[in-house]
């Protein structure tokens, strides 16, 4: 279903906070990508343990 309502943020996110967030998000996403890539590389050499990587992150607390 669709609604045509206008969405306005009531919180001031702060210019500095937003710009820092954009920079951090890109860097952290690259770091995550690198970690996944590294895990795959490790997986090639250690196929037997790759499925039970203890460092694999749980999605929830």
């Amino acid at each position: 279903m669709t609604h045509n309502f206008i969405i306005l943020a009531y919180l001031d996110p702060g210019t500095g906070s937003i710009l820092l967030q954009v920079v951090l998000a890109s860097l952290l996403a690259i770091a995550v990508g690198f970690r996944i890539f590294w895990r795959k590389i490790k997986g090639i050499f250690r196929k037997d343990t790759a499925l039970e990587d203890p460092e694999a992150e749980n999605d929830d607390e």
Partner: protein, 463 residues
């Protein structure tokens, strides 16, 4: 503020998407037209059900009620009532940490459902049945690809900064939240956390660099950034949330070395006195039959549990962060649902604060409780704080309608220790003086000496 016969809550004015009001003692939330998209998507996307299942959001019903402000109204909701509202400056370290992790977990689930949390206020979290839950049903907006997280700054100020200060500098710095209503300013947190903060990746990014970025861009001579710079991939946002979660998770505080931490292991009670006190309390509580109990000076909640385990909602207040922390850990471990440990200094109880002093309620404004427990407390108020007995009696009467209080006489070893280093200026601090002072506002229903000690338990009923 009153609209027809409904009263709008003083804490509910910032968000234009809706507000809370009370009508005939029942709490409702009006959803405005501007909040309709967010509310409808929350309900239709399955996100609400998912959060209910995880016990992370307050349950509500849609109510068929005349809206107090019909011009802007979309719907009226009736949320389940939180037994006792509490504030972040009354929580122990782990309570604030759990509130933070719950907020991040909700934001993750929201993103999966195509939504985002539009705020991350610690005041939107309350403790119900031993768990941190979001009480603001209107905190969700539809997520648009590329959007940044508007609540990032608020999350850092309300959660990350106080947690880092409590864990890494001093547990008492959590009290800064009383002064800073919108969370601890990041430049203040950064200066208190330096230099150690710069060697912790998460704190360096989300507090250190964050404070610097705020300072740089608050300069009015700098031009406003272009909107193009505000675009952010969803993967980036998820990575940012992960980083916040890891940073919060790594912060820890161990309750040790404080004054009261293991009070029950070094108290002068004998086992018999302890057991006798338990039995008397248990019998009286059953006769009083209270729904809401406030245990004042509860320590780690040993006596609060007599009430809570009998199914009565019990708030266990203590001045010591270590005792409250231990109590909360016990609540979590045993999955207890009827006890809420809270930090409270009775010589300076939580006051009415915030805009017009109406946003956050004083302790007394959240009462009265049906029953107060004041065990091994009176000597701290009367002798350490020099509060006259009639003053104690009057304030307790404001807080509750029945009272079980333990009178600790001068002959008690704890009191002797207190008086050892000072002049005894308390001629009225005697059982007779106590009864005379309290009889103005309370009627004595029963009294019982505590075995193996000079202490006496009184059951009092408010006049």
């Amino acid at each position: 503020m009153t609209t027809s016969n409904s009263k709008v809550l003083g804490s509910s004015f910032r968000d234009p998407d809706g507000f809370l009001f009370e009508k005939e003692g029942v709490l409702y939330r009006q959803v405005n037209q501007s909040g309709a998209a967010g509310y409808q998507q929350l309900m239709d996307s399955g996100l609400y059900q998912k959060l209910i299942k995880a016990q992370q959001i307050i349950p509500h019903l849609e109510a068929d009620l005349e809206p107090p402000r019909p011009k802007t109204a979309y719907k009226i909701l009736q949320p389940e009532r939180v037994p006792l509202i509490s504030y972040p400056y009354e929580w122990s370290f782990s309570m604030l940490k759990d509130a933070a992790l719950t907020t991040l977990s909700i934001q993750r689930k929201a993103l999966e459902a195509g939504m985002t949390l539009k705020d991350a206020s610690a005041y939107n979290i309350q403790f119900m049945r031993g768990k941190a839950v979001l009480i603001d049903t209107l905190s969700f907006d539809p997520y648009r690809e590329g959007q940044t997280w508007d609540a990032y700054r608020q999350f850092c100020q309300h959660f990350l900064a106080p947690l880092a200060l409590m864990a890494r500098v001093d547990i008492r710095l959590g009290q800064l939240l009383r002064v800073h209503m919108d969370g601890i300013p990041l430049d203040l947190a950064a200066s208190l956390l330096s230099p150690g903060m710069w060697f912790n990746g998460g704190l360096m990014m989300h507090i250190g660099l964050h404070a610097r970025a705020q300072k740089t861009y608050s300069d009015p001579s700098k031009p406003e950034s272009k909107p193009a710079a505000r675009w952010m991939k969803k993967e980036g946002l998820l990575a940012l949330l992960d980083s916040l979660r890891n940073t919060v998770k790594k912060l820890s505080w161990k309750p040790a070395g404080t004054e009261w931490g293991d009070y029950y292991n070094q108290t002068n009670y004998t086992d018999q006195a302890f057991e006798n006190k338990r039995q008397v309390l248990s019998g009286w509580i059953e006769k009083i039959n209270p729904a809401m109990v406030w245990d004042l000076g509860a320590n780690n909640g040993a006596f609060s549990r007599i009430a809570s385990q009998a199914g009565r909602f019990t708030a266990a207040f203590d001045i010591d962060p270590a005792a409250v922390e231990q109590n909360y850990r016990q609540v979590k471990q045993a999955k207890e649902t009827h006890i809420l440990p809270l930090l409270q200094d009775l010589t300076n109880p939580s006051a009415n604060i915030g805009w017009a002093n109406r946003e956050r309620d004083a302790l007394a404004a959240r009462g009265p409780a049906d029953l107060l427990l004041a065990l091994a407390l009176i000597h701290h108020l009367a002798l350490s704080n020099n509060t006259p007995l009639p003053g104690i009696s009057a304030y307790l009467r404001e807080l509750g309608s029945s009272l079980i209080i333990e009178f600790v006489p001068k002959s008690d070893s704890q009191v002797q220790k207190m008086l050892a280093s000072r002049e005894d200026i308390f001629p009225d601090y005697t059982p007779a003086g106590f009864e005379a002072a309290f009889s103005q506002r309370w009627e004595i229903v029963d009294r019982s000496p505590v075995a193996d000690s000079d202490r006496v338990l009184y059951w009092l009923k408010g006049k």
